[in-house]
């Protein structure tokens, strides 16, 4: 069958499309990889496949702003195929991946290769971020125009802060020249270096090196000063603290061209979840205090936080079953993103909590990435997730398609089970 030509009928689901303000039970028709109609079938429609979505939510496919696929270079931790299967099993149809692969994504050839491999797998859409500096070394700029032509949607330093502020200034000036977005995780290169947990009572008690909140706020202040001078558009990745969010809120109010996301773990957990040195809770940035966690929810509700990402980072056993500080940071997340957002929505108790939560992982994320995704309007590309909001599932290694089995949510019962994922009109996952 020619998938591109396939006609798909999704019947009787609760269609939630925050972009178009839709939340009602209706039918959805897909033709030629695009949304052809809602409600009544378009003329000449003849379904090749029908999915009965009774009792299910039908939503735009998720857009994840940070998913490490570990290719090239770290195939022992995960492969493109395993992680893209994890993506569609989690309802994620569009992935933005950071450039900290080995080699680093600083050459057009590497980006083309990655895009090519992803296209051949034909599971989810992959959009790489190019390295902002060669080798992420913070010295020489990359060929941003060439990298954009090869398919990069922005430029980032991943977890490697730039030591030389003058290089960061030049990078922002250069990016501004061409209108590119620079994605930065605010982290002072010196303060908190070597730290493994939020600086506070827990880290002090456990004798773990701390990463103070000021490591984030000092970097944010520097970035905002550079944005004021250059006018470059900056997306701030994984803000972790109340003080950091307050600075972002003020910068937005001032009119600076900035946006920000948070990692989905930080929506629910605090440093206390490290418990007795649980290396599954070793994340970058570190889980912070309850006050910081509450500020993230407030930021989501008032719009300071634009999007939530999974910060998917597969880590293998050998690198996790180590003393806390020696364990590699990161957790698997692609298959938890939807459920953790649904859990958050449940906790907000509002009638519009579900569309609000979905917006942060669909259209708002797509807007930041500059991609025409995250919505179900007629004519849009047919990236769709169908999930049962009532079914709860237990987070266990065996339940995850990702090669990364480590998450601080192991053993949790989470709401929302993905029943089918449609990518470009084709059913990429069905349960």
């Amino acid at each position: 069958m020619n998938f591109a030509r396939m006609q798909l009928h999704i019947k009787n689901g609760r269609l939630v499309d925050p972009a178009n303000g839709i939340d009602r039970v209706t039918d959805l028709f897909v033709v030629d990889g695009k949304i052809a109609a809602l409600g009544a079938a378009p003329s000449g429609f003849s379904a090749d496949d029908t999915i009965d979505a009774t009792g299910l939510v039908v939503a735009p496919g998720l857009v994840d702003l940070s998913a490490r696929l570990r290719e090239p270079g770290y195939e022992y931790k995960a492969t493109l195929e395993s992680e893209m299967r994890a993506a569609v099993q989690g309802g994620v149809t569009t992935l933005v991946c950071p450039p900290d692969t080995d080699p680093v994504l600083d050459e057009p050839g590497l980006v083309e290769m990655l895009k090519h491999r992803a296209r051949n797998l034909d599971l989810a859409h992959v959009h790489p971020l190019g390295a902002l500096t060669m080798g992420l070394r913070g010295e020489a700029l990359t060929e941003m125009a060439e990298l954009t032509e090869a398919g990069c949607i922005g430029f980032a330093q991943a977890e490697v802060p730039i030591l030389d502020t003058n290089v960061l200034l030049r990078a922002l000036q250069y990016a501004k020249t061409f209108g590119y977005t620079v994605w930065l995780r605010p982290q002072d290169p010196h303060i908190g270096r070597g730290g493994v947990a939020h600086s506070g009572p827990l880290a002090s008690r456990l004798g773990l090196s701390g990463v103070p909140v000021m490591a984030e706020t000092i970097a944010l202040n520097t970035i905002f000063e550079l944005v004021r001078s250059t006018g470059a558009r900056v997306h701030l990745c994984r803000i972790s603290s109340a003080a950091g969010l307050a600075l972002v809120r003020a910068a937005k109010k001032e009119g600076l061209p900035v946006s920000c996301d948070v990692g989905v773990h930080h929506l629910h957990m605090t440093d206390a979840d490290i418990g007795f040195f649980d290396s599954n809770a070793r994340l970058t940035p570190p889980l912070r205090s309850g006050r910081d966690r509450d500020a993230i929810t407030a930021g989501l509700l008032d719009g300071t936080v634009d999007a939530v990402c999974s910060d998917h980072t597969p880590v293998d056993d050998d690198e996790k079953l180590l003393p806390f500080a020696e364990a590699s940071p990161g957790a698997t997340g692609l298959e938890l993103l939807l459920s953790l957002m649904l859990k958050w929505a449940e906790e907000q108790h509002g009638a519009d909590a579900l569309p609000q939560a979905l917006a942060k992982i669909t259209l708002d994320a797509a807007r930041i990435a500059g991609l025409p995704a995250g919505q179900l309007g007629v004519g849009a590309q047919a990236d769709i997730v169908l999930f049962d909001p009532a079914t709860r599932w237990k987070v266990e290694g065996a339940a995850l398609a990702s090669q990364g089995k480590h998450t601080p949510f192991l053993g949790f019962e989470l709401p929302g089970q993905v029943k089918a994922t449609v990518v470009g009109g084709r059913i990429a996952y069905r349960r």
Binding site: S199, L206, G207, L208, F276, F277, P323, F324
Partner: protein
């Protein structure tokens, strides 16, 4: 989530399975260890310095970080309990060949170890080992933390409590000052947890801001930057060792300046109560954190600490190995 859920050092019945930290240990268990230690103190003075409580048991001293002193006291304690002791200096063997920590543990467990005494440079390493043994159904193997990173040194904390109880009897009317590099000190953390659990009404931490961890007040201590103010009217002074590598750099300008501000001199000692005792976990840096006149003076109880340390370690190991003593 509660911080003390699934505490890996206690069994479901609340008995000691491993000794990993003093934090969260019930007062009754601490007192039981101290009482048991008291019954062992006399053994060292006998002509035959042995009891058969751990006969036929194998104790593995796993020192991933060098320490002659602590390893020796554990070795003596094991031998006085009639256990077989195997000393492993792991730095020099398997991990340098690329073997993982847990592979090393599995290999030694297969040699029928009954107890691991673990010293490791990383905070939390003994938890990883204890959890690994618990999860793989080898609960009969016990783990004693002999010092992990900056986190805990529970047997040192317990021997410090034994010493304080020996000289002061009651904990509930004491002021105790801990002086020096608290940021990097596992001894300080274990002492603070033990003192607050045993009901000491005022625990003080004294040091420059660069050597005090953030959020220290949350552990129930009063923080002093000024040594003279901090020592006023205290009953017990616990001096901490200043590591050589910290004596000059971004934390402190020099050992001389440190001694000038935080060294325990006879003049400063006079600010404490007249019957105050002076403790130090050793090894001491004379002229850096403590003046020789104090270290060798009549208020110092630094050598009795070492003697009590053997009895306390015997108590911990015998309780873990056999339960009833």
């Amino acid at each position: 989530m509660p911080i003390l859920h699934n505490n890996p050092q206690l069994t479901r019945n609340g008995e000691l399975q491993h000794l990993l930290t003093i934090e969260g240990l019930p007062k009754a268990i601490i007192n039981h260890i101290l009482d048991t230690a008291q019954s062992f103190v006399g053994i060292s003075d006998r002509e035959v310095k042995k009891v058969p409580l751990m006969r036929g048991k194998s104790v593995f001293n796993l020192f991933f970080e060098n320490s002659t002193r602590t390893r020796t006291t554990f070795e003596i304690a094991s031998k006085r309990l009639s256990a077989d002791v195997i000393n492993l200096n792991i730095q020099a063997s398997s991990t340098t060949k690329g073997e993982s920590l847990l592979d090393t543990i599995d290999n030694l467990a297969a040699m029928h170890a009954d107890m691991f005494v673990v010293r490791h440079a990383q905070s939390g390493a003994p938890y990883l080992i204890a959890k690994h043994l618990n999860d793989s159904g080898r609960k009969e193997i016990h783990v004693v933390n002999a010092g992990d990173g900056r986190h805990a040194h529970p047997t040192q904390g317990l021997l410090d409590m034994y010493t304080i109880r020996h000289y002061k009897q009651d904990f509930t009317n004491l002021r105790v000052a801990i002086v020096g590099d608290i940021l990097h000190s596992r001894v300080a953390r274990s002492d603070i947890h033990a003192l607050t659990t045993l009901g000491v009404p005022e625990v003080r931490a004294i040091g420059p801001q660069t050597l005090l961890p953030s959020g220290l007040e949350h552990m129930g201590v009063r923080v002093f930057n000024n040594m003279d103010e901090g020592l006023k009217d205290v009953d017990v002074i616990i001096m901490l060792r200043l590591q050589n590598e910290r004596m000059s750099g971004a934390l402190l300008p020099s050992a001389q300046e440190y001694f000038k501000s935080y060294g325990l001199t006879p003049e400063r000692l006079a600010l404490a109560k007249p019957d105050a005792i002076v403790m130090h976990p050793g090894p001491m840096n004379r002229g850096v954190e403590i003046d020789s006149a104090v270290a060798d003076g009549k208020q110092a109880v630094i050598l009795p600490q070492v003697t009590f340390g053997i009895a306390v370690r015997m108590a911990v190991m015998s309780i873990l190995a056999g339960g009833r003593v």
